[in-house]
Amino acid sequence: MQCFIGIDLGSTTTKAVVMNEELQVLGRGITNSRSNYDVAAEVAKQEALLNARFHLFRQSLDGVAALDGRLDDFLDQLVRDFRLVQFLEQLADLEQTCTANASPDRFGADTDALHEALAEIFRRLNDEAPEQFAAGANRKSDFFRDVAGSRYLAVGEEVAGASKLSFDYVLNVYDRSIIDVENRISEESLSDKLMRALDRTFVAFADLSAASDAVRAPVKAALDVALEETYVIGTGYGRARLPFSKEHIRSEILCHGLGAHVMYPDTSTVLDIGGQDTKAIQVDPAGIVENFQMNDRCAAGCGRYLGYIADEMNLGLHELGPLALKSTRNVRINSTCTVFAGAELRDRLSLGEAREDILAGLHRAIILRAMSILSRSGGIRDQFTFTGGVANNGAAVKALRQLIKENYGDLTINIDPDSIYTGALGAATFARRAVDSPETSTGEH
C-alpha cells in the first residue's frame, strides 16, 4: 500500500501523519523532539505507521462475529498491550545500559551495591509495569522518558534509602543512560512486537480463545499489508536538521496553510500559536499560501509566554486557561514581553488584583499580539482556522472569539482538537502531490 508521510519537527514535539493515495489519514504519531531530531522524526513516523496499522486492524476485524459489539474494547486493549510490550523492551534496554554504566571506575567500592540496587529497582519497575498500562491507568504521558523516569526516581529513592546507598549514584547512572536509550531505535520488527502484544490481549479476553483463529487471521492479514513509504516530506522549525534532501522539505508556513485547508477546505486565514512563534497565514481556495507574517524576533505573546506565567504562578500550563475562565473583571495587561511579564504580574498581585482576572488579562494580551500579526498579514477573512498548542486553551480561544467579533464581525471559526497535527497533515498532502506532479516538487521554477 502506498503511504505518504508528513513529519513536522517542532521545538517541543515532533508529529507525523500517514496518508493513503486517496488522501485519507491512516495514522498519526507524536513524540517529544528530544535532543536528537533524527530519532524524533523516526519515532514519530513509526508511531504514525503503528497508528495506521491499527487503522487497518479495525478495517479487517470489522465484521468478525466474535468481536461483535466490543471491537473498540479489543483494539484499545491491544494498543495498551502493545505499549506495555514496547515499554518493557525499552525498560530492559535501560536496565542493561544502567548496569553497564555502573562501572567500578566510576563508583569504586560502591559498584556492587549499586548493581544490587539497580537489579531491585528494575525488578520492581517490571512488576508494576502492567499496572501502569492497565485500562483506566493514568499516565502522565506516553513518552518513555516521562513514564520510566518518574517511576525510576520514586522507586530508586526507596531502594537507595533502604540500602544506605547514595541516591545520587542511582540518579547519576540514570542520567548517563536515558538519552542513549531514548535515542535507540528498536531492532525488533513491528509485526513481531504486535504479535507478542496480541498474545497478551488474548489473556485479557480469555473467552476469545475459542475464536482465536478468527481474530488472528485478519490481524495477520492486516500485518501482511506492506506500508510502503512512497514519499516523505519534512517540515517544522527543525526541518533543516532532518536528514532529507531539499525536495523532501517544505516550510512550515506552506504546510500549515495546506494542512488547515485540508481540515477545513473553506479556510482563508490561519492562525497558529506555537511554543516559539505565532504565524498568520492567508491561503487561497486551493490552500496555497498568499501571504504570511510571523512574530518578529521578539517572542512576546507566544505559547512560551504562558509557560513563564505558569512558572511564575506555580501552576501547570494546562491549569492557566480554566483558571482564567473564572475571571469576573477585566484587567488590562499591557506587557506581552516575557521579560517584564513576571514583574507586571507581581506588581498587580501586590495591588490585590485577583489571580484569575490577571490571568484573563494575560490571555487577552497574547491574543492582542496575535491580532496584530493577523492584521499585518492582511486581516482575518472567512473562514478562520486556529491551530497550535494555544488553540487548546479555553481562555485564549474565548479572548480570540471576542476580539474577532469586535474587529471583523461574525465569522466561522474552526478549531480542531487535533490541530497539533496541522503541519504534518499539510506535509503529507504535499507528499501525495509530489508524486502526482513531480515538477512542482523538485524545486524547478
Binding site: A240, R250, S251, I253, L254, V289, N291, M294, T440, H445
Partner: protein, 429 residues
C-alpha cells in the same frame, strides 16, 4: 561557523581595485594629523565630497567605519563598550559602534589609527540620528561643527524654498567655514572639475545598476551592489580613481552579459536564476555573507535595491552638474533616498518591480535605522497591493550581532521562496 575551514573567496579585478582604494584611504587618514592634512568627519547621505576636496580636506566617514567594523566582526564589542558608557540599548548601533571605537582609542577597522577631525561636517540629510551623533562626537573634540540642514522632501518634491535654503547654507556658512578651517580659498572651477569626474562615474554606475534588467541579471544589486556603491558614496566621488573603477567594473559586467553569466558570489558563479527580487532596507553587516548565501543558494538574485540609493539617487536622471555646481550639490543632498517621503519610496520600489521584472519584494528591516524602518510594514502592504507581487519581511540590524538570528531569517526566507515557487507553479499550471 568559526570552526569552518577558511573559504577561498572569489574576487574580480574591480574588487581588488576597490579594496586597494579603501585601504589607501584608511592609511591616508591614519597619517593625516601628523602630516598636517586637515580632516573632516562627515556622513554618506548628502556628503559634499567634491567640495571638501576643493579644500584639500581628507574625508572620514563614521558610517563606513561602523559597517567595516561590522563586516570584520568587531562591532559587537564596540557597541557594548558604548552601552557601558551610558548609551541606551535602544538606539542606533552605527552611533554606538563609532562611540565605542572612540572610547577604545579610535583604532579603525583596518587597524590603522583614525585621525582627530578638524571639522565635523554634519550633512543632516534623511536621518535624525546624524544630528545627535555629531553632538556626541563633538563632546570629545574641540573643532568646528557645520550643520547643513537639508529639509525633508515630505511632499515628494524639491521646492525652490528648500533648494534656496541649502544653497544659502552652502554659500554663506559651509564654504566660508571650510575656507577658515583649511586656509584655502574656494575655487569654483576646481569644484566644477571634480563634478565632471563625478558625473562620468555616475553614468557608469547607473549603467551597472540597470544591467540587472537583463535575464539573467549579471549583478546582484543589493549584496553585490553594496560593493559597487562603495567608492562613489564615499571619499572617491569626483576622483579619477573612481571614474577608473567604474569603467573597469562596467567592462567586467559587459563581459558577463555577453557570456550570459549571472552575478559573482563569494563562492563563485551564481547558479540558475530562479527568483528576481527587489530589496528595500539596509544590509546586515555582521553576517553579510551568511545572509547573502541564503539568497544565492536558492537562486534568488536581487535586481534592484533602495540601499544603493542612500548616497545619491542617480537612476532617475540626476547628475552632479559642473555648470550649476552649488545648486546641484543642493539637489544631490535633497534627493538622497532616506530624504524621500514614504509615498515616493513606494513609487520608486514599485517602478523597480515593474522595470526589472521582479517576482517580489524583500524588506530587511533593521532595528537601528528608523529613517528606513518606520513605516516599512505599510510600504510592504502598499507595494503588494499595487504590484500584485508578494513581499517578505525580515528583521535584523546593521552592525549589532545580537540582532541577527540566522535561523529566524532563514526560516522566513525559505518560506517566502517556497511560496513564490508554489505561486509560480500554480500560475504556470
Amino acid at each position: 561557523m568559526s570552526k569552518a575551514a577558511p573559504q577561498e573567496v572569489i574576487k574580480e579585478p574591480s574588487m581588488l581595485k576597490q579594496k586597494e582604494m579603501i585601504d589607501a584611504n584608511f592609511k591616508s587618514l591614519s597619517t593625516a594629523n601628523e602630516e598636517g592634512r586637515k580632516v573632516s568627519s562627515t556622513f554618506v547621505p548628502g556628503n559634499l565630497n567634491e567640495l571638501l576636496m576643493c579644500f584639500d580636506i581628507t574625508r572620514n566617514f563614521p558610517e563606513i567605519n561602523a559597517l567595516q567594523n561590522g563586516m570584520r566582526k568587531k562591532s559587537g564589542r564596540l557597541i557594548m563598550e558604548a552601552e557601558r558608557h551610558g548609551q541606551s540599548e535602544d538606539v542606533c548601533t552605527y552611533v554606538k559602534s563609532d562611540l565605542g571605537m572612540m572610547l577604545q582609542g579610535n583604532i579603525g577597522p583596518t587597524g590603522d589609527k583614525l585621525p582627530d577631525p578638524d571639522v565635523l561636517l554634519l550633512s543632516y540629510t534623511g536621518c535624525f540620528t546624524f544630528m545627535k551623533w555629531f553632538e556626541l562626537v563633538r563632546e570629545k573634540y574641540d573643532c568646528e561643527t557645520i550643520m547643513l540642514h537639508v529639509p525633508y522632501q515630505a511632499d515628494g518634491k524639491i521646492t525652490p524654498n528648500m533648494r534656496d535654503y541649502v544653497v544659502k547654507q552652502l554659500k554663506e556658512d559651509v564654504i566660508p567655514t571650510l575656507e577658515r578651517v583649511s586656509g584655502i580659498k574656494f575655487d569654483i572651477d576646481r569644484l566644477r572639475q571634480y563634478m565632471r569626474e563625478s558625473a562620468k562615474a555616475e553614468d557608469d554606475l547607473v549603467w551597472i545598476l540597470q544591467s540587472a534588467k537583463n535575464r539573467p541579471s549579471p549583478i546582484d544589486a543589493f549584496f553585490g551592489g553594496v560593493y559597487y556603491i562603495g567608492p562613489i558614496f564615499t571619499a572617491f566621488r569626483g576622483t579619477e580613481a573612481a571614474t577608473e573603477y567604474y569603467r573597469t567594473l562596467r567592462g567586467e559586467i559587459q563581459q558577463r552579459l555577453a557570456n550570459g553569466q549571472g552575478p559573482v558570489t563569494p563562492e563563485g558563479d551564481f547558479g540558475k536564476e530562479r527568483f528576481r527580487l527587489v530589496v528595500e532596507g539596509t544590509p546586515n553587516y555582521t553576517n553579510f555573507r551568511e545572509f547573502w548565501k541564503m539568497f544565492y543558494d536558492e537562486g534568488a538574485v536581487v535586481v534592484a535595491s533602495s540601499y544603493t540609493k542612500v548616497g545619491g539617487v542617480y537612476d532617475f536622471g540626476f547628475r552632479h552638474d559642473p555648470d550649476n555646481p552649488i545648486e546641484s550639490l543642493a539637489d544631490y543632498c535633497l534627493g538622497c533616498y532616506t530624504n524621500l517621503s514614504l509615498p515616493a519610496r513606494i513609487k520608486m520600489l514599485c517602478s523597480y518591480i515593474d522595470d526589472y521584472q521582479a517576482d517580489g519584494l524583500v524588506i530587511n528591516s533593521v532595528k537601528s535605522c528608523n529613517s528606513f524602518s518606520a513605516g516599512q510594514l505599510l510600504m510592504l502592504r502598499e507595494i503588494e497591493k499595487r504590484t500584485g507581487k508578494p513581499g517578505a519581511f525580515i528583521e535584523t540590524d546593521l552592525v549589532d550581532p545580537r540582532y541577527f538570528s540566522a535561523a529566524n531569517v532563514k526560516n522566513r526566507l525559505e518560506s517566502y521562496f517556497q511560496m513564490l515557487q508554489q505561486k509560480g507553479a500554480n500560475q504556470a499550471a
